[in-house]
Symmetry: D2
Subunit: 175 residues, 4 copies
């Protein structure tokens, strides 16, 4: 048996995607003229991407990550803890993604938790949301247990990354 | 040092994306009224997804995978062999993806090669291409060396998967 | 009362959009990998454009205009004749749009009939379909009775226009 | 010579599209996370729609119509007056479109001026902008001189229409 075959046997099958809101999931409201929150787009994205079963989508909350306080992060943690799957993708606003990652990491759950988001909402014609969700799913199913931040086609250990607001990308600390 | 930190240290940085054509990259020709091949969309997708450097895009060929003969597969293999990166994503038509994977696997290159494609071209409003490319990048940067087929949010060892043409999805052999 | 107010009083309210297929309405079939015909996109486009009532969408046929024979054109004519509205938009393949226009014109119906289509299907991300339909609706509600071909933001009397296949645009005869 | 042929001879050829901003032309800024103003999308839309020459695009200003004061409206009027074309489309925010129309109408220019806009920005995947611009072009080239508001597939004399903010559509006064 080759190494690849062995690894295949342990590739994580069951996947849960947790929506918390963030830029990724903002929706344009024609009445107010602003981007806000309504239904998640995750069901549509999962269907469009033909993601294979088993995959669960769960809406934990739908808010801007700048509005998140510790109580919200505890709810995200509770959802991760309660999830029967060991591969979790958390769709999250980019501004405080690392703060939530810290709360999740402190709990030391035996799961692979990958946080991702978008710089441009899925509802925009030129969004990075679909690619980012795909990458997060790829990382969540193959990285070891722990808490990761997946943006720009790369996964960072949560404690080693920050958002560079000027450049609009995530980068390794020390870069 | 935690396991996740260790793994982070060995996460593959350098990535190359090889275009070979396939449904993923088909382009509508208004003159003929059919979907064919022209420039690859990969540069646009990589820019839109804000994929971090270092990432290389290389066009090996732009053809329908049903038109591939062994000579084409040898060219894909040669490109994989010549690539200085150890994480490779091959964008490929879905119909003969597994045949090309077999040729690549026989060469036993010390690289992680992930083949992906799309059921709906990137040029269509409702395509799965961006998600699939994201997932392939995630898998290519975290799976062990070998040849993988990444479709529908899952990575399969190449020898253990087939395209189910009726359902339009890839599935494990024996499923 | 100003001229504009007078004209407003006679602006045609009731509008019917007749689908016949053509590039405009082609749909990608992931199973076969080609652009063909299924449901019309017109209901979706009308809803997305928030077109005000009263507007009717009627599917007469869904075929490529190169496959149209006289029988098909008679069916389009019959639908135009039967329509209670006096403003009609016919969504049609571009290749034989002028031939159908001739059949409609010979019937000398007391209606404003505007044929339009698209060089790139609505299903493609970069389509001209929405703009063209909008223009056709504008022309249908304000031009005098007769048969018109509306493409590239211009309305031509049917007998004075041809498709320039090389340039992918419609142009006046004699240009 | 038929009536339609006669009218064709007087169909307005030369068209100018004036950008003033509004929801139609809002652009997402990934740095701030809000929809604001940058370059106009009109050149892209005109190219995508393959609008035939002659057509001019002119950026008068790029602002939200709620921020317009009389000085701005005078600038729009000056641009309409200076335009050599007799068919003008003014892309404008929907909230004060009628106020600007009044200013333009008071000048009694011998031109057909059609104001249009969008309920959903062009940059959004589900926008009504392309359809509305198409309709405005159709109306501008075929309606008699005067000032018109074209939304929802219909052209209204400017003095006879209002935006219904709750329903997100324009409607005739008295409806």
């Amino acid at each position: 048996m080759e190494a690849a075959d062995l690894l295949s046997a342990i590739l994580i099958m069951n996947l849960r995607i947790l929506a918390t809101g963030g830029t990724f999931d903002k929706r344009y409201d024609p009445t107010t003229g602003v981007l806000g929150f309504g239904e998640t787009h995750l069901h549509e994205i999962v269907a469009r991407a033909r993601v294979a079963e088993p995959v669960q989508v769960e809406v934990v909350m739908m808010i801007d990550s700048l509005d998140m306080v510790d109580e919200h992060r505890q709810r995200v943690l509770a959802a991760c803890r309660a999830a029967p799957e060991s591969a979790l993708v958390v769709v999250h606003g980019t501004d405080t993604m690392v703060e939530t990652a810290r709360v999740l990491a402190d709990a030391r759950l035996p799961k692979t938790i990958v946080l991702t988001g978008a710089m441009v909402p899925y509802a925009l014609a030129d969004s990075d949301a679909s690619f980012n969700l795909g990458a997060a799913v790829g990382f969540a199913r193959s990285l070891s247990p722990g808490v990761w931040v997946a943006m720009n086609g790369f996964a960072h250990v949560w404690s080693n990354v920050r958002k560079n607001r000027e450049r609009g990308v995530f980068e390794q600390l020390g870069d």
